[in-house]
Amino acid sequence: MMELLRKLLFLPEGASTFADRVDLLHLFIISVTMISAVGITAVALFFFVRYRRKSEDQLTEESHPPLAVEALFVLVPLVLFLLWFAISFRDYVWMKSPPKNAMDVYVMGKQWMWKFSYPDGPNSISTLRVPAHRPVRLLITSRDVIHSFYVPEFRVKSDALPGRYTEIWFEATKPGRYQIFCAEYCGLDHSLMRGQVIVMEPADYDQWLADQKRGNAKLQDGTPVAGETVLPKSSMKEQGEHAATELGCFKCHTVNGERHIGPSWQGLYGRREELSSGHALVADEAYLTRSMMDPTSEVVAGYQPVMPSFQGRMNAAQAAAIVEYIKTLTSDRVVSESGSEPKGPLYEPVRGQ
């Protein structure tokens, strides 16, 4: 039944839980549309045939629309429209409320490709793998202009805005491959900014994820998917971010300039720090490392010496990555605004022309 309906309307197959509800409302509205458009035109033509002009100066009676008729003219569309609004709003609220147990994937658009990162897994370009029958929440952003993440089969779309996040969620129902389009015009190769979602059976997905974590970029059946790029290693910055998350630094530190239990890391690198001992020093790599390994030796003025030592609890690579990460936090918009650190173009220049 649903399949026939979709054929009729040229709709793509429905591969998420949203599809049925969306398509039914679609059918409802479009049927009324076609019936009323054809019907109204037909009535107009019928009136022409029925009330053809007989002589050039034929007279007609004056029209006095009865109140009931006018009321009908208002009420029929109004009731239908409000009904549609109610249905669509209910569905929309559902589409906008990710279930609590949804699995998160971060999506970043850039001219002209999509990048996906799994919080506890690999990053990949252009190919998103998700398990079937599990809700997935996408947190979408962009690093240059506005894009829009669109999977027709899921009936799901959300703009990717630079500097902010949008969220959508879906629950895929059928394993398979589905096309991702960029639906918001974003420059030269907008039409080539495509990708694919691979929906896997949950067990396969878990297996795949585990393989990824082991650094084994092979798929379940051993064949890499054409066009799939899995990035086994992320940049130092991301590793640092990751390590800091894992080690729990963010329980006390923020990266947005807000004071918490400890000082914010924003703009920390290269800053002059007043210590409680009365001395002052510039926060360089060495100082950052010392602060992690032996925090109480140099306590920042105005804070309690509560930070535990991480000596032995993090390896050298992690420490280095965290330092790198803290360094990147300096090139935050505040500083780039003051022009003290030119960082090259914020947006990728458009190719061609």
């Binding site: 300039g257 935050d332 918009r333 505040v334 605004e337 003051s338 022009g339």
Partner: protein, 214 residues
């Protein structure tokens, strides 16, 4: 084309009476002023939004402006509004010489306003309190501070442009008064030109607290 009807030197051909012609001009002017208000709409919107998003930065940036400049300019504009209102009043009672005098005073006020504004601009340029990528003000570093200055420059810039246009209009009506082509019976040009000037004042009445006082 506009054959002037007997005894009605100001009446255009397609109007039934001078009264309706004046009505039309006034209504047209009010509508034009309405479009001017809406022209500033996007700037007020940008202000509202970014102040909502970055209240602290806006406060800090606002405190960085020199309130003295803003206040003096407010007083100047209010005074010029008075002189323009008086110009209309004198036109209504047929004292065209005084109209000219009032217009001259208003023009002086306009120049004073622009003068102070340019001193203030120069100061901002010097400090680097500039919009967007030119922002180099060390004192205020919160995110969003450069937006305050972007809005500051856009809003005061568009406003200054209106001051200049308004002054040109004042010159024109002063000229008409000097040549006695207006009379108590038909002083609509002075009235409309005056309304334009008041609008310029009006916009400033809002820009002053939004930019300088918060």
């Amino acid at each position: 084309m506009h054959t002037q009807r007997e005894g009605q030197p100001y009446l255009a051909d397609h109007f039934g009476s001078l009264e309706s012609q004046i009505d039309a001009s006034r209504l047209g002017m009010w509508m034009f002023l309405g479009t001017e208000v809406l022209l500033f709409g996007p700037l007020f919107t940008a202000y509202a939004l970014y102040r909502f998003l970055y209240p602290a930065a806006f406060q800090a940036a606002s405190h960085h402006l020199d309130i003295a400049y803003g206040t003096i300019n407010t007083l100047i504009l209010i005074t010029s509004s008075l002189t323009v209102a008086m110009a209309v009043h004198f036109a209504k009672v047929g004292k065209n010489k005084r109209v000219v005098a009032m217009i001259v005073l208003s023009l002086l006020a306009g120049f004073a306003f622009l003068g102070i504004k340019s001193v203030e601009y120069a100061h901002k340029f010097h400090e680097g309190a500039l919009p967007g990528k030119y922002y180099a003000l060390e004192a205020v570093k919160e995110p969003g501070a450069s937006l305050f200055f972007a809005i500051y420059f856009l809003a005061t810039g568009v406003h200054a442009l209106h001051v200049i246009i308004g002054m040109s209009v004042l010159v024109w009506i002063g000229w008409r008064a000097a040549r006695n082509t207006i009379s108590p019976e038909y002083y609509v040009p002075v009235e409309l030109g005056g309304m334009y000037w008041h609008l310029v004042d009006l916009i400033w009445i809002f820009l002053y607290p939004l930019l300088y006082l918060i």
